[in-house]
């Protein structure tokens, strides 16, 4: 579990993070979203004990990041934005070194290295110099490095950056498979990643919290209206006034992908619409919910500054 309370970080006069508070539940994957220079990396650096905060409190699995830094470092795995690799070492040597400084007991070292090589799929390159392996493998070495001491908490700063689509999918699967045993916080620019991987998000901008919570909570609370988009085989334009007449419908409009029907969030009139369409034999091709997706949510939150 990660808890952050009123965290503030100043670099000289520059306020990188201000008064940030959020909570990540145990065993869940939480995404940290925000535009560039929003304070994502700074927040993660504070959580890993790399940087001290100017003000505020942060606890990781009950350990205070500022008071019990060493305990926090023992149970946290961290993949920084720039993967910290020693170019002149082989993958195996590098992981051995990381196992040493993460204080894995000598009798468990071998096992830990084997496990992290297996989970991150590094068997092929384990005896090659890091300088000579591809970007995708380097990123995986970074993940192996973060996992080696089987940490309760994983902090991943843009784990899929610079990878090709197939590698991105693999890394996402890897991250998802770590859920449950590990509490994971990852930062990303890719919004689709959040819906695919994360259980919840923290959205920050200018170092301030814009929204936080589980994905369902956020999308449903920020939607003002519920709605569907339907596509029909019959002429659609003439139907608009008719659909508007249905009980409970607030607004009907023509869109590129069909007719958008909206109603207040207090009720659900999907059944009414379906029955009308079927009864009048309009030829339903598609009906999809107009739930607020993550892009909308992100843009709305970043521009609007709604707090949750």
């Amino acid at each position: 579990m990660i808890e952050v309370e009123n965290l503030t970080k100043k670099y000289g006069d520059l306020l990188a993070v201000r008064d940030l508070s959020f909570k990540v539940e145990k065993g869940k994957i939480w995404g940290l979203l925000g535009p560039n220079a929003a304070g994502k990396t700074t927040t993660m650096r504070i959580l890993t004990g790399y940087l001290p905060a100017t003000k505020g409190k942060a606890t990781v699995s009950g350990y205070d990041v500022f008071e019990q830094t060493n305990e926090v470092k023992k149970i946290t795995g961290y993949l920084p934005e720039v993967v910290p690799l020693y170019q002149e070492m082989t993958v195996n040597e590098y992981l051995k070194f990381v196992a040493d400084i993460k204080q894995i007991p000598p009798d468990k070292k071998k096992e830990a290295i084997e496990r992290s090589i297996e989970t991150s799929g590094l068997e092929l390159v384990r005896h090659r110099l890091i300088r000579n392996i591809s970007r995708g493998f380097r990123q995986r070495v970074g993940i192996a490095q973060a996992l080696i001491h089987d940490p309760q908490i994983l902090i991943l700063d843009e784990p899929t950056i610079g990878l090709d689509p197939a590698q991105i999918i693999e890394i996402r699967q890897l991250i998802r498979s770590l859920k449950g045993e590990h509490t994971i916080m990852l930062s990303t620019h890719i919004l689709a990643e959040v819906t695919q991987v994360c259980d919840g998000v923290v959205i920050i901008s200018d170092g301030q919290l814009k929204a936080s919570g589980s994905l369902q909570e956020l999308t449903s609370s920020l939607a003002e209206r519920d709605g569907v988009v339907i596509r029909l085989r019959k002429a659609e334009r003439e139907l608009i006034p008719l659909l508007k007449g249905l009980p409970g419908v607030d607004n009907v409009s023509q869109q590129d992908d069909g007719i958008k029907i909206e109603w207040g969030t207090d009720k659900d009139i999907r059944d009414v619409i379906t029955r009308y369409v079927v009864d009048n034999d309009l030829g339903l091709i598609e009906m999809k919910s107009l739930a607020l997706n993550i892009e909308d949510l992100y843009l709305k939150v970043i521009s609007g500054g709604t707090e949750q």
């Binding site: 790399y50 070492m89 990381v98 400084i101």
Partner: protein, 255 residues
């Protein structure tokens, strides 16, 4: 202790998988070997000339005539080479962002510094040991005194170790290795010749400048004189360098 060893092991590996250590050691051995050769040749010439005069011949001393000047020459070479050996230690970590791994691992800053420092001392030790093989020749063909020789090498080690400690400090100041090396080189040179100014300074400044100068303390040791003041001087220099490094790293994180 294990942490220090882990860091140290990695640094030693890096020294010896990259060309740095080999180049430094080779250059060191070639140049010091040349010095040794010329000093021995000179000593031979002196011996032959003195051989006709038994009274002077008695006064020939290979420790004083070969090794004392040799140690002085070696110290100059160290002044050039040490900054090259230490410039990488922290500057490189900062530049390649690997320090983020070190500083988010359950290992303290002083353990990191000591690990790196010990690795640099290891290279110094290798250099001096290989150079020390030269003196075996002298034992084969002459009869130098052993203790003064050992003290001379101890002096070289202490001086090199002080340079290393300050070199690490300069490396922690910047992410540019050249800057770190240049700072080290300039600073060492200045401390070497600090006693030149003492002849113009009066009163207390004279003794302060003399005390601070590397040269003054080194000179005793090359002549086989083991004085605790000199040992304390070098040890405090090492401590000072490492302590400054610690403060720089600690304060950088708080900025």
């Amino acid at each position: 202790m294990n942490n220090i060893w882990a860091v140290c092991k990695r640094e030693i590996k890096t020294y010896f998988t990259s060309p740095i250590a080999y180049v430094a050691i080779t250059v060191f051995l070639i140049v010091t070997g040349f010095f040794f050769y010329t000093l021995i040749q000179w000593f031979n010439m002196q011996s032959m000339q003195m051989a006709r005069n038994p009274q002077y011949f008695q006064q020939l001393n290979i420790n004083q005539m070969v090794f004392a000047p040799l140690f002085h020459n070696i110290s100059i070479i160290l002044l050039f080479l040490v900054p090259i050996l230490t410039m990488r230690l922290f500057a490189e970590e900062k530049k390649s962002k690997t320090e983020e791994l070190l500083f988010t691992s359950p290992i303290s800053i002083s353990q990191i510094i000591l690990g790196k420092y010990l690795a640099s001392l290891f290279v110094l030790l290798v250099m001096l040991l290989l150079n020390g093989l030269l003196s075996l020749f002298v034992f084969a063909f002459g009869n130098p005194e052993f203790m003064p020789l050992l003290i001379g090498y101890l002096g070289l080690f202490l001086m090199g170790a002080s340079f290393m400690a300050l070199g690490i400090f300069f490396s922690s100041l910047t992410e540019n290795q050249i800057v770190a090396a240049a700072l080290g080189f300039g600073f060492f040179l200045l401390f070497f010749v600090l006693n030149w100014a003492s002849q113009f300074a009066g009163g207390i400044w004279r003794s302060v400048l003399n005390y601070l100068s590397f040269f003054q303390h080194f000179d005793d040791l090359t002549r086989g004189i083991l004085d605790t003041t000199d040992i304390v001087y070098y040890l405090s220099f090492m401590f000072f360098g490492l302590f400054l490094t610690y403060s720089v790293i600690q304060s950088r994180r708080w900025r």
